[in-house]
Symmetry: C2
Subunit: 154 residues, 2 copies
Amino acid sequence: MKDNNDMPGHLARRFQQIAVAVFLAEVEDAGFDLTPVQYAALATIKANPGLDQVTLAGLIAYDRTTITGVIDRLVQKGLAERRASSRDRRARELDITDEGRRTLRKITPAVESAQRIMLQGLSAKEGAELMRLLRKAIAAGNDLSRAPMRDSPA
Amino acid sequence: MKDNNDMPGHLARRFQQIAVAVFLAEVEDAGFDLTPVQYAALATIKANPGLDQVTLAGLIAYDRTTITGVIDRLVQKGLAERRASSRDRRARELDITDEGRRTLRKITPAVESAQRIMLQGLSAKEGAELMRLLRKAIAAGNDLSRAPMRDSPA
DNA sequence: TACTGATAGTCAGCATACTGAGCAATATCG
DNA sequence: CGATATTGCTCAGTATGCTGACTATCAGTA
């Protein structure tokens, strides 16, 4: 009789559930209101100024229909800008605002703290091994979800 | 400059994303329409006949507000039954139907196949180690989410 | 250049997850 | 026994994620 705890899928769900809760708690303690998804998007926009939504989605493996709402909320909070591209009138170019840059800078300690807390039950070596195995499993399964990771076309 | 791929939280999200996609694809190929969440709930109801919703939620670490909708859908599909408890008029007792039992039995190969596919990039030893590390990290962080795992009161 | 196919983005709809609030019923304790 | 606290469940609201469909635009080709 296979228990739920023998199912990698169930363990994945539980670990992610804890990871999100820890992230939100640390970030809120630091005085900010940003979800893990919003954080990843904002950090990626900062690292790739002027990128379009599909490219952003590919870099962080979000579905393109999900990213629309995420960006809506970043724009509404004044952390990012969305404007029409001059080269391709279908596309929107994304950029981080000064406010977004400030937020990213100030939020970093909380984000790093969250990453430590979600691995708190593991030794440093075990934590590194967990991340290695996750990366390896993810690489092998990358194309199995609707929103695979895609390198920047540049 | 920390990359997203150095964040355990981001890796957790990606792995779970792939796990869900693989599960849904395998189950659909087998001719069924059941989500990972619905499957876990149904299997746990079968293993604990007559349990109430809070106990079920604790066993699989779902939020109690989430489980309401999940059970709604199981009941609507004719796979589970929800009826008032005679001992505690606040509580609802849950049971699996014959149809639910049949579905669980027929769906098992697809579920097992899905668990294999989501670990396909790892050796057997690595897969086991990944699961061990996930269980350990989850145990240490259990109380950090709103819906921690809880053993059956019985 | 006109046609065809592909691409960027959005939208409606559904299923998790969570926050916070509320109702009904039970448990506890003075 | 009666006041209070707790518990089981539900609901409204928000944020991912996904499927599938649609519009606008672009790219390639006959």
